[in-house]
Symmetry: C2
Subunit: 436 residues, 2 copies
């Protein structure tokens, strides 16, 4: 048991290592550039340059700056197949003026440029679509257009949208208890939660997702789905299915938003139950193969074959932008209605701001969380998909803009760099809306 606990702690420390050593400033973006550091370069790479799963190196900064672009080389993944058809067009209309767009970071004096912001957040790749055209596209480190990057919890927004499609079609009743679709969960903390509560993360369950807390449940969850190496003697759950059954209730459902990845895994399970297929297979059929993706997606899978719906999607930058553009256009993209317009409207509407405020996100005042999307309720109606370490889709309907970003910030929580990222996104939107 001691072995197991040590391992869980060490697994968590892997996830949380940058914060656990917050006293030491991490290497700067330039110092940690993965191309400069030469991770996994050479044939063979020298031992000190190897990034391994078995020692947890894949989650240790600055190795993460290589690993996030190569996670599928370290862990098993399932294919999310693109359709066999043509690639949808993303015409280029590059604007050289965006690099110098200036903004003031939240709570700071002095200004920064868009270009500086990208570097400062340890950006790996970023693309800006304006009216469907690529006006900005940048890759750094080991990233390039055809290199997939882990999206972490941006994955949640894909599966939240997929669940909403099935709700719109009447295949899932959002007011039904989770246990109607997954009877096994009846005796878990999710037993009397509704699908709606799980989708909006207002469940009251015993699951801590503090990436700076070495005792948080996210570590045990990571072990169960195989995101960190299982230690010798580990006898705990070896799949998301088994893990979810162990989650107890804590508090009441529907009383406030608390960000807990376990909810998304329940969504994936429900999708599997109502379709008779694995959730990522449904993702391929309903979204990936419909939007003219350039590349197949790759999603981490556990030993029971379940996709890691809370954070396991690996994909290219342009394909992530295509999904954002599909959302921006009310679900109509690539010549077809991929997502019902009603679903997009429902997501954009958001959920209860008061519920959201209880979570106390310093950088997200007045926001809400709906169907696995973060809704700003700002004047532009912007909403986001967000993943740890800086992954993002930022959709600004008023500016007709979509931003897709990959990053490998040493900090997990986006709140640590929202003060730069959010005003940077908004400033680019304002520039794109201005008459030239």
């Amino acid at each position: 048991m001691r072995t197991v606990l040590t391992a869980i702690t060490s697994g968590l420390l892997l996830l949380a290592s940058p914060s656990a050593h917050a006293q030491q400033a991490p290497a700067s973006p330039a110092e940690s550039d993965p191309a400069t550091l030469g991770w996994m370069e050479g044939s063979p790479p020298p031992p000190e340059k190897r990034v391994l799963f078995r020692d947890g190196g894949h989650l240790q900064f600055p190795k993460t700056r290589w690993a996030f672009a190569h996670l599928r080389e370290l862990m098993p993944t399932a294919v999310i197949a693109r359709g066999g058809e043509r690639v949808s067009a993303l015409p280029k209309a590059l604007r050289t003026d965006l690099d110098s767009v200036t903004f003031t970071p939240l709570g700071r004096s002095g200004t920064m440029t868009w270009s500086q912001a990208f570097e400062d957040v340890y950006g790996d790749a970023v693309l800006v679509l304006h009216k469907g055209r690529i006006v900005y596209e940048r890759y750094s480190g080991v990233m390039k257009p055809d290199q997939p990057h882990i999206a972490f919890s941006v994955t949640k927004s894909y599966f939240g949208t997929l669940a909403e499609i099935l709700i719109a079609e009447g295949k899932i009743d959002e007011q039904a208890p989770v246990s109607r679709y997954v009877p096994e969960l009846a005796s878990s903390g999710f037993g009397d939660a509704t699908v709606r509560q799980v989708l909006d993360m207002t469940t009251g369950i015993a699951f801590s997702e503090d990436y700076t807390d070495p005792n948080a449940d996210i570590a045990r969850f990571s072990l169960a789905v195989g995101a960190v190496p299982a230690p010798r003697g580990y006898t705990g759950p070896l799949s998301a299915y088994d893990y979810l059954l162990t989650i107890a209730k804590k508090g009441s459902h529907g009383e406030g938003f608390t960000y807990r990845s376990a909810n998304t895994e329940v969504i994936g399970w429900i999708i599997a139950r109502v379709t008779g297929k694995r959730a990522h297979e449904v993702m391929s059929e309903r979204i990936w193969s419909q939007i003219g993706a350039e590349h197949d997606g790759a999603i981490l899978v556990d030993s029971a074959g379940a996709p890691f719906t809370a954070g396991g999607l690996n994909l290219t930058l342009r394909d992530m932008a295509r999904f954002g553009e599909t959302m921006r256009l009310g679900g109509r993209f690539n010549g077809r209605q991929v997502v019902p317009a009603s679903v997009i409207a429902k997501i954009r509407e958001g959920a209860g701001k008061a519920d959201f405020a209880k979570a106390g996100y310093r950088t997200l005042p007045g926001w809400s969380y709906k169907s696995q999307w973060w809704v700003s309720h700002n004047a532009h109606g912007a909403y986001m998909a967000r993943g740890i370490h800086g992954q993002a889709i930022y959709i600004d309907p008023a500016a007709e803009m979509v931003i897709a970003r990959f990053a490998s910030n040493p900090q997990a929580s986006n709140v640590r760099f929202d003060d730069i990222s959010l005003p940077a996104y908004h400033a680019v939107a304002e520039r794109l809306m201005a008459k030239r």
Copy 2:
């Protein structure tokens, strides 16, 4: 040490299990249908229906009939990116008469049909191109057009062709000793072999690839590249690079053909050294992104990031057919010269039949092995890529025909079912050549 040896033996037994129990007849094609058996079906799949890497189930028949279509879900893979451009056309002109094409299996009395042959060899998917059009396409079990399948040693022919491209460009000297490109191999059995000898597998090295022999080196190799689970206490090589250094010389180079996968791994290493990239990255640039592939490829990688060039390619049937068609058309496909015509001509010419005859393949009289391709020297000029358990690309230039096939035969060696497959291919070719 005992632990290690036991593990190696058990690893080999995994690879060889069907033959090791040859006395027991394996389940029939129908009895072993993976869709009927329901491997990994359900959320979660029941314990007895799971296919796991950690117990070697991925290589145990009949689980193989699911696993060969899902190996990337059990092991890490690197992406072989398709280009961002359009998918190349494979127009359909289906012919219903091919199912009833009749032939006589080698050394038997009585006839079989093409359709029966597919079932009899435990076929998973097969596609016939005639003059560039799909005249036959069939999927069984868990296979479908967008599902990747392991190609096993068909992979070799891809990398052999890639090496020949680099030879044609003067980047590799085929007469140079291997050690010119990989000095580390100087003290191994490969030290004084030429690139040509490695490409044509005429090296004299101590490496046994008998899949029915529990002591063969292929088991140790499989452990090193991570194709079978490493046992507790295993301290042997953990990458192809490290493993190749341990191979001793045995006999002389250039005196005869012996099929040994280690040679292909040396080819992959040379490609990496002359290009400064990993071999599968070069594959993406030079072939995959040029032929209008529908899907990304996925290749098994070891812990040093090396692609398993001898057998790790997972891909869709149509994409495998596209490569075959590229070869048939003298390297020109998708509006560009992907492979120099001289390379195709060189491969088709074959190598020494006397050298090949020494290997004693009962079903391949008069054949030769050139640049990782099997050349029939028959009247049609047919040549093949071949992978264990029935993977194949069969190119018949005279019939303007390409066949791509995936299978999960309980026997590893193709020789065990060549008596059906080879006359079946030829009979379809004859039918396609006949006036209608």
